[in-house]
């Protein structure tokens, strides 16, 4: 998929999302006008309106370029050759959804796991899994990192900051 096709889909999604917000979410989930001041939905509507307008404008530009057969600048049509190495503000590139899933799924499982099996076990398991996912195959190293990091954060939270450790407590 070229960059311009991907951007077109993104603009269409933004337009859909904006319309959803304007027609359903904002009217339903903002308080009614109390009779003074500005309406609670004013600023949300303006911000979503800006999103909608700019997305529509971008689609118009893309449409006009396609209709007049005038090519868009190459940096807007194609992906940079060097993924994420162009430095600076933009890190435009192709999505890597399998990689994203490989990282996000253990993170989500950590959040859920902490509530059921406690911070100590969930964090240890998470660190072992994430090191494996990243590519570390040195089991002793992984074990040491997982144990030490879990313990250090436990001590820092519990005794350093006096913050309750999340989830059910094993060592109490």
């Amino acid at each position: 998929m070229t960059r311009i096709k991907r951007d077109t889909i993104a603009y269409l999604l933004i337009i859909g999302f904006s319309l959803f917000l304007l027609t359903w979410a904002i009217p339903l989930y903002t308080p009614a006008y109390p009779g003074y001041g500005a309406s609670a939905s004013l600023v949300p509507n303006v911000s979503v309106g800006v999103m909608l307008f700019m997305a529509c404008l971008a689609l118009v530009f893309i449409g006009v370029s396609a209709y007049t057969k005038k090519p868009m600048p190459v940096e807007e049509r194609e992906f940079p050759e060097d993924l994420s190495d162009d430095g600076g503000f933009t890190q435009v590139g192709r999505l890597n959804l399998p990689h994203l899933a490989k990282i996000m799924i253990p993170c989500v499982l950590l959040v859920v796991g902490i509530e059921y099996i406690g911070y100590e076990l969930a964090s240890f398991a998470f660190l072992m899994v994430i090191q494996y996912v990243i590519g570390c195959r040195k089991w002793v190293q992984s074990l040491l990192v997982a144990i030490i990091l879990t313990a250090v954060l436990y001590i820092v939270m519990r005794y350093g900051f006096g913050v309750p450790v999340p989830g059910p407590q094993i060592f109490e």
């Binding site: 951007d7 993104a10 933004i14 917000l21 979410a25 989930y29 903002t30 308080p31 109390p34 003074y36 001041g37 500005a38 609670a40 600023v43 949300p44 911000s47 979503v48 309106g49 800006v50 999103m51 700019m54 997305a55 370029s65 005038k70 090519p71 600048p73 190459v74 940096e75 994420s84 430095g87 600076g88 503000f89 933009t90 890190q91 435009v92 999505l95 890597n96 990689h99 994203l100 990282i103 996000m104 993170c107 989500v108 959040v111 902490i114 998470f126 660190l127 994430i130 090191q131 990243i134 590519g135 570390c136 990192v145 990091l149 954060l153 939270m157 900051f161 913050v163 999340p166 989830g167």
Partner: protein
Amino acid sequence: MEMIIAGLLDSISPVSLIYVFVGVAVGVLIGAIPGINGPMAIALFIPITYYMTPLTAIGFLVGLNKGAFFGGAVSAVLLRTPGTPEAAATSWDGYPLTQQGKGEKALRMALYSSVAGDFISTVVLIVIAAPLAAIALFMGPSEIFALISLALTVIAGIGTTSIGRGLIAAGFGILIGLIGTEPVTALPRLTFDVYQLGSGLSLIPVAIGLLAFSEILLQLEKFSGKGGGQQCTHEFSNKPEDRFLPLKEFFQSFKTLLRGSAIGIGVGAMPGLGAPVASFMSYDQAMKRSKHKEEFGKGRLEGIAASESANSSVVASSLIPLFVLGIPGNLAAAMLMGAFMIHGMQPGPLLFKENAQLMYGIYGSLLLASLFLLVIGRFGLRFFCKAVNIPAMILYPIVMFTCIMGAYLGRSSMFDVGVMLTFGFIGYFMRKFDYSYVAFLIGFILAPEWERALQQVVIISEHDTFMFFQRPVAMGLMVLCIFVIARTFWNSFKEGRKKRAIAAEQAKNG
């Protein structure tokens, strides 16, 4: 005069010196950790200061805050995972320098700019706090609304090649910033019946997700691409020109540094804007005024100078409204206000009258904190650079886990961790699709204050449409705002037309 000398002598007592030094050192370490910033550190250490004298307590806490601002730059430069939101702009040029093996040089620039900006701001605080605060007293809701509008329009174009995408991101950020309790009716808005959203989304998990976690997701892609077992670390060059920062090179960015300090002082003295706004505005101005615009974002030292001088200047200048009017300008100042009150002092107009010697002692401590930051940063540089030489297979899990727990620490809530992961996910897509996460973050930070000012204007003026015409400063700022929008769109249109002409020429030539 005796009072001034007595106050300054108090600040150089051995106990006071030790506490300020320790405060700065702890602040640097804490600021480098994503999720823990200056205000949080102040809140955590306030109980420790119960048993200190007022001077040592305030000196310690201010040192903590100053150290945290530089600490955020350390992780921003070396890992591109800013420890604090205001260090994000530092990472744009700092990290490319690290990739080129010049991480130590980038850190030196960050340190010297941070110290310089902080020192200038502290001198301004001491010299002209009262006149500046008198101006701030005239800032009503109209002026604050106009000022925030201007800040939003200036920043919309940062962090993206397209102003349109910047505005979409800013709009989205404003929308997310409005989730929570509506200020007039005090009823929930856009909470989707999720009770944890009743108080809105906290800045820390959103900032960690957008700035740090999404960056880690992107950096880890390189490992997936090159094969899982390979360890990639950044090599630091041993060449003196890549490690050290000669005075001549530092002074090449001096004008930028002064401009950044001025922006930081102005922004810090205004309640509600904050260090991230100062940092991004300074960076934007440095880039626009530079003869080497194209080098920004690829390792330009000027970019680091702009960002660090601005965000560090906010530390002292945010104390101006606190000391003179008793109004905290930002979260850190609010925490310090608590510390003052714990020690029996009420910040405000009478503070100087009733505690003159103490206030001059605090000024002395502020200046000493700048000096200690220079010393600690200078000797800590080697240690920081070595920390990055930890194999990536160990470093990235540590950083990821710290992000996750850092998000939890703020409110002891796993919901915040979920928020952090969500915005990490969103941030990944924003970066890949070239939507400015900076504009999003600034919109998110400024939205509540912006709407509050608007509501105040509408209520006070009783729906008078021409209310802004009665406030010349607000009127001037709104005109400037419209000018900035028009100029940005015009420049974007001209640049787009030029690029399309080049593309057409290239297509014609085959």
